[in-house]
């Protein structure tokens, strides 16, 4: 019989952790379903761009995606912006506690009404500030033109720091930094290194101020139409792919940071606990600003899970 074809589209290169995890998922899923399922991966925005892939998924033009969690706000799932709350997560463990716990389940279930089934969260990394000006204290951010990806949450905390956020597509960033259209950006070490930003940024400060991750989602109608045992096999395969992704993402970030240091072109700045605290304090008002979108209860639920206490700052 003809195999069931699942079109899996994403917007990053094949050699990134997400790209590798997608390929790994394809491999194990096809093996375990013994060829009854064929997964076609379209990397690099070949089929759909960042801006259109969610609508395409809802229309059924593509079956599976792994968009950044920041992309869910505009489609009416504003709760997903909780991932952009600055400094709410101190480690991957805290992220996983939330993502795999009740809050994460609630988030994924909230997609049902939009014709989408949420399956898993995949790590990308923690964003850190970089610029051509030395950034140590939050005050250093004032007046800096910072490239961000389109997100209300990120826009809010960048403004909170007095910088001027500039939405720009990923492909334009290198040149914008090189020429000075923007002064800096926030990126995980892995993104920073693979986009060769160390060639055009003098300083990279380990602020680790916000978490960047993806949600793996499928078209609900398509997913519910799959035979039950296949769905089970795929779900298990995805759990394994998630573990695989999170492992290589963490490793990739560590290695990338080491490589950036090794090039010697970018000075990597580590923050003392006191300095980090001043960053947390400076960015905390952004939580309040994002409250009416995410919901106070949900934010408090995240605080409880991660042990974040705003009053101690």
């Amino acid at each position: 019989a003809q195999p069931i074809v699942i079109k899996f589209s994403h917007v990053v290169a094949v050699d990134t952790p997400k790209g590798q995890a997608a390929a790994y998922f394809k491999k194990i899923a096809e093996e375990r379903t013994k060829g009854r399922v064929k997964i076609d991966i379209y990397p690099n925005s070949q089929l759909f761009k960042d801006k259109e892939e969610l609508e395409a998924l809802q229309l059924g033009s593509v079956h599976m995606l792994a968009p950044a969690t920041s992309k869910f706000g505009p489609m009416g799932a504003k709760q997903f912006e909780l991932f952009e709350l600055p400094y709410v997560f101190d480690s991957y463990d805290e992220v996983h506690k939330v993502a795999e716990g009740a809050v994460g389940k609630q988030l994924l279930r909230s997609l049902d009404s939009k014709g989408i089934t949420g399956l898993a969260f995949w790590d990308n990394g923690f964003r850190c500030m970089s610029a051509n000006k030395k950034i140590v204290t939050p005050n250093d951010m004032r007046g800096l033109k910072m490239r961000i990806s389109s997100s209300k949450g990120i826009d809010a905390y960048m403004r909170q720091l007095g910088s001027v956020p500039q939405v720009m597509s990923f492909g334009e960033v290198y040149q914008a930094m090189q020429t000075g259209v923007v002064d800096g950006a926030e990126n995980s070490p892995s993104n920073f290194y693979t986009q060769k930003m160390h060639e055009v940024q003098k300083y990279y400060t380990n602020t680790n101020h916000s978490y960047s991750g993806y949600a793996v989602i499928v078209n609900k109608k398509f997913w519910d139409g799959l035979p039950k045992e296949i769905r089970g096999t795929l779900e298990q395969a995805l759990r394994d792919a998630t573990a695989y992704n999170n492992k290589i993402a963490a490793k990739d970030n560590d290695e990338s940071l080491a490589k950036v240091k090794k090039t010697g072109k970018t000075q990597v700045i580590d923050l003392t606990p006191e300095q980090k605290k001043s960053w947390k304090k400076a960015m905390l008002p952004a939580h309040k600003k994002m409250e009416d979108k995410i919901g106070k209860d949900l934010i408090n639920a995240v605080y409880r899970e991660t042990g974040f206490n705003p009053t101690t700052l």
């Binding site: 229309l59 505009p74 009416g76 004032r142 007046g143 389109s150 007095g162 001027v164 500039q166 939405v167």
Partner: protein
């Protein structure tokens, strides 16, 4: 009367959109430039102003301009095709191809208009908003059905007038305002003007290549 109003409305809309989009980006660039000027007074004034919406608005204005401008373009005959082959055909056969092409345009834009309406209807039932301005996305996407249906109408209009009068709108790329006609050298051979390569209206027979179309000089 209503048609003239529609024509003017279409022209005013796209004129406004291209002009306003240019101004918006100009202001956004000046704003960003001002923010990085190391004068605290100016910075205090400018940094709190949020211009993040400028790019998105500019893009949406241009998409609307593109959709309605494409309809206007049917009226001005600016959409180019590979007409080398059909222009070698005898007049009557050529006219059939021209009508076929125009009707194909009407068919395509009609289908797209309908698909677009369905699509907008579908999206209007979601809570999708645009990323920066947070306007309901279906309003933005309305450009597709509206623009396409208008374009379909324009194709039918041009087909009808071609059947009735034999005239096609023709965009003249070499026309420049302000360059007076007197500057054309006196030794011009006016009969060589016709290049026999564009679909032109039948009334231009007098300008040459007449034999193929059965018209005399």
């Amino acid at each position: 009367m209503i048609l003239t109003l529609l024509d003017r409305l279409e022209e005013w809309l796209i004129t406004f959109l291209i002009g306003a989009a240019t101004l918006i980006i100009f202001v956004a660039v000046v704003h960003r430039f001002g923010c990085s000027v190391p004068v605290p007074a100016i910075q205090d004034l400018l940094i709190p102003i949020n211009m993040s919406w400028a790019q998105e608005l500019c893009i949406y204005m241009f998409v609307w301009m593109a959709k309605f401008g494409a309809a206007y373009g049917v009226r001005t005959g600016i959409h180019v095709g590979v007409d080398v082959l059909i222009n070698r055909l005898p007049g009557k056969t050529r006219n059939k191809f021209i009508i076929f092409g125009l009707l194909a345009g009407a068919l395509f834009t009609g289908i797209v208009g309908t698909l677009g309406s369905n699509f907008v209807w579908h999206i209007a039932h979601t809570e999708q908003v645009s990323a920066e301005l947070e306007i309901p996305i279906w309003m933005v996407y309305l450009a597709i059905p509206c623009g396409s249906y208008l374009m379909c109408f324009r194709f039918l209009q041009v087909t009808w007038s071609f059947i009735c009068t034999g005239q096609l709108p023709h965009h003249d790329h070499s026309h420049v305002d302000g360059i007076e006609e007197e500057t054309i050298p006196p030794d011009v051979n006016w009969l060589e003007m016709d290049d026999n390569l564009h679909p032109h209206d039948l009334k231009h027979k007098k300008l040459g290549n007449g034999s193929k179309e059965g018209g005399g000089k």
